[in-house]
Symmetry: C2
Subunit: 369 residues, 2 copies
């Protein structure tokens, strides 16, 4: 059975590659032919038809370190389809292992200390930089990690929290929220909310920001929606980086940047499967799952970050526009050539320092002291 599937896939690769080869020749070697066929295919109103492409690595305004990320191959798991909880856990642990192994050296390099503890019954890490900024003594950040609601267990969640702690001089509480396959919705958001409620008991909410990338960005938005509903104080600022604001596959860049983004690649791979696993039968357009469908009025100031090749470019700009339409202060930064969340993947890239420097400055500007 498995051999048959592999043979079938192999035959399809050959077939597709042959025809793509023909088109690639047309596209690369003969602009006139491509222009003619494209003109014919797009001569009437309707969906846009685009040809196969070979897209070079961008050069200007992109550092060599970032170019290396942009030219990297697709992840080997981009189309993973785990059949059961054990297969999910095997994939989750395989991805997490190298990240976790690298944490001590990264902590040393970034000059941060990590403590593992509990808050409101939820496992959290407290990340403390060597020097807490002079304005940040009574400030605190809460971090919600990314990973499609499945990846990033335990210490694997920490690099982003460590970057902002180090570059911004902030103390950060990173929430190791429960995840599928064992704990689908609403476990993750319940854990985030429990920690936030605990934090606002001991700290002025306006002195705290909540931030996170991808799923962590979606959870940040969902947390604010829920805090509004439950009349819990809101944070003084938020940093939803390329937020998974719409997990239902709605958004133009799910199409335009499909196969272009070399981190997420496509919604139809592991990503959409993770969305369905997390939702556990609930409507994907419920605002607690896809916060873009919530009411953003009264939200705290927000800073958003994405890249031109990001599969979540539309998630990010839709969120930005919806915040602005609701009268919320919202800042948008878009990086040249970057796929999903690449601004946070390589601590030594100048773009990483730039992106987290911008987030730190934004929080400094908007948080109470």
């Amino acid at each position: 059975m498995r051999i048959n599937v592999q043979l079938r896939a192999f035959a399809l690769v050959i077939a597709a590659t042959l025809c793509m080869g023909a088109n690639a020749q047309l596209a690369g070697g003969n602009y006139d032919a491509t222009a003619a066929s494209q003109g014919a295919a797009n001569a009437k109103a309707g969906p846009r038809s685009t040809p196969p492409k070979v897209i070079p690595v961008p050069s200007e305004e992109v550092s060599p370190q970032m170019q290396a990320l942009i030219e990297a191959p697709y992840p080997d798991y981009f189309n993973a389809a785990p059949k059961d909880a054990d297969e999910w856990k095997a994939l989750i642990n395989r991805r997490a292992a190298p990240t976790i192994a690298a944490i001590p050296a990264l902590a040393e390099k970034l000059g941060v200390r990590i403590e593992s503890t509990q808050m409101a019954g939820v496992h959290v890490f407290i990340v403390t930089p060597k020097v807490v900024g002079p304005h940040n003594q009574r400030r605190l950040l809460m971090h919600l990690h990314g990973g499609g609601y499945v990846f990033g267990p335990g210490e694997a969640a920490l690099p982003e929290a460590m970057l902002l702690a180090s570059f911004g001089g902030y103390k950060v509480v990173s929430v190791d929220y429960r995840m599928p396959p064992d704990f689908p919705y609403p476990a993750a958001t319940d854990d985030a909310m429990a920690v936030w409620k605990e934090l606002v008991r001991s700290h002025p909410a306006r002195n705290m920001a909540v931030f996170g990338t991808s799923t962590g960005g979606g959870m940040t938005l969902a947390l604010v929606l829920r805090a509004k509903d439950e009349h819990v104080p809101l944070p003084g600022a938020i940093g939803p980086g390329t937020p998974w604001a719409d997990i239902s596959r709605i958004g133009d860049s799910y199409e335009t940047n499909e196969w272009v983004d070399n981190i997420l690649v496509t919604w139809d791979g592991w990503l959409g499967r993770a969305a369905l696993l997390y939702a556990n039968g609930k409507d994907l357009k419920d605002p607690q799952l896809s916060p873009i469908y919530g009411d953003f009025s009264g939200f705290p100031p927000a800073i958003l970050t994405t890249g031109t090749r990001d599969l979540f470019l539309s998630n990010t700009v839709r969120t930005h526009r919806k915040l602005r339409r609701a009268g919320v202060v919202a800042e948008l930064n878009v990086y040249e050539g970057q796929s999903h969340a690449q601004y946070g993947l390589r601590p030594e890239a100048p773009e990483t320092r730039e992106a987290f420097g911008d987030i730190a400055r934004f929080f400094d500007q908007h948080l109470g002291r």
Copy 2:
């Protein structure tokens, strides 16, 4: 000869369409096959290979009026290759005629008055709204129109100036700068600079903003660079909308959004031919032609606008990041699903009011009174 060329193009359309049809079936009908071939094509570091696509019109956060623009066919002149000055002029006039014919009704609808006059020997239009805003009595905007340095002669340049005059309550001077084929570089920028120098004689520079879309955005940036060099006072704010900051075809979205953008479509059509016509042998990377290569330090606050499908998405975000890296206040707005400059093409679209409303508010925030 001409018949042969047409026959050849027709044969290529057929050939390309047949093969694209095969791939489109694979892409649309068989995700597994596409994923397998894409995985194989992107299993090593290097340029990104992407398959043919059929991209639907986006729905969420996009008004019906904007959806109509997004689903429109390519312009019939997207690949025009005028052979001489007469052919350029015929195309320029064919494009301009319907816009010019619609100006009186648009002026009526937007409640603006238009005067044609001269400033420093340059033809300009003065656009005055029925009501100049209470804070805007001593303010003035200078408008540099778009059109790839060739399109938009005379009144055809006016719609954008009229939109900002009307929505923002500003008096606007729109510069009808000289253009190719008769007047290549530096005529356009000489005219813009002459008018700016004239304006700063009678108005405080900090009470004035300069704005324009596409080529007008590139010219806005080039004007500030030149004013810095010549020690002429700088405007209080600028609004380079999706600026043609790099006319040399460098920028990731020249690739990623090629054939996706239904306004410009590709650099290799009329657009690049216009760049070469304007440059007239000068280096395309000269900062007066591609201002992204200039020094942005000391620039006034800037607001930039683009869309996720814009061929100039990278021009816009590269400009934004470079301004921010130079310590300049710079705001970025990116609209879901829009191709090049579509935020200004349909006065009745809510996105048009939103985009120009944001620009007007930004100017109000940063201009002197």
